[in-house]
Assembly symmetry: C2
Amino acid sequence: MTSDTPQRQRYPRGQGERLREELVEATIELLAETDDPADVSVRAVARRVGVSPTAVYRHFEDREDLLRAAIEACFNEFELALDEAAAAATDAFDALWRRGRAYLEYAMAGHGHYRVLFSNPAPLDDKGVLVGYSSFEKLVEAVQACLDAGAPAEDDAFRLAVELWTWIHGIVDLRITHPLLPWPPAEELFDTVTRKLSLAAPDA
Amino acid sequence: MTSDTPQRQRYPRGQGERLREELVEATIELLAETDDPADVSVRAVARRVGVSPTAVYRHFEDREDLLRAAIEACFNEFELALDEAAAAATDAFDALWRRGRAYLEYAMAGHGHYRVLFSNPAPLDDKGVLVGYSSFEKLVEAVQACLDAGAPAEDDAFRLAVELWTWIHGIVDLRITHPLLPWPPAEELFDTVTRKLSLAAPDA
DNA sequence: TGTACATCAGTGAACGCGCGTTCACTGATGTAC
DNA sequence: TGTACATCAGTGAACGCGCGTTCACTGATGTAC
């Protein structure tokens, strides 16, 4: 009985579902550590939780099911972070700016989930919708609000949202993938983005 | 002697190096098929060429060495495509535009190497320089040429090159990773990019 | 109040797989004498 | 012109590994009578 098998106590009767949460939590941790879903194995997750690999199959169909649950949880966390940031805004431009900054923070927070969400094909949810698509819809709404508030509109909100997202994704994705290059600060680049897309506050 | 072992003839004496090229070629093919270097195994490469796994070790130190050789070859192909495109240009703006379009074409050409080059940490070459860095230097030069030709210069060439590259990368990377989203045509977005960065031809 | 039984939360051993790598080898071909 | 030998371009079998998944099981705990 060495100390690397931490002698986990099984959950009491009726609380078996709590292991499910623990497994998702551990999967999220491992995703953060590797950046690549392919490196996260059922056995590694079980090890992390201190449970036999077999136990995973009491809560998930198979490995894919486990990973989908973890990725969905990450997307929820991501969306929540952006919504919370936007909630403190004073106007539409401020809201978009806060959303963008929260996006940058999520991407660069070290917890390494960004690539899991955006550099891997997204799974489909129960309704066949791309997991995370609602994040994009919220971005379109936030851009539309800026247009309604008087931003000069050369393009429509959907198009502008695509321009915004692609650019910001490029900024953080290249930075994460090639950290050795001499990047300017992401926040500075983000200001350039809002300015060149005419989505910065008019007076600022 | 079934037909799925194609009865390869060994190379005659003195031409053993040709197998090396074949191995690199096969590695490139497999990279194209999976997008992910982690999925390309020594054994799969050997199978593709019709040779035993052991034979690989006569030409490469180990798996990593084989993959590095393949990735370097891809970068060379990429750089060559951009240089050739730029060679036909009539002025600095045209050259930058052609470079950009060649970038898009390479990324979307189906041969799936784009993510291998830009969505994986680049290896270092013999001199310790990031493989592919010269591509970026050429981009900076191309942008500088536009500034010299009279583009309105709010930022310097390096900064503008970063803005350009991040945006274009975002456009193609998201499209490749999430092909189900309703993207506008990449070429159209690229025109928006050059325009909003003030790097389009002035009269056009 | 006691006991048989169902249920729950897991475990342990085993399967077949593909992997990277190493070891000792084989058999054709050119070269030295 | 003949032959021993070195070299070259590989092969075949084996190693130990971690993987996803399945099977039959165990042992504690609540419940029905």
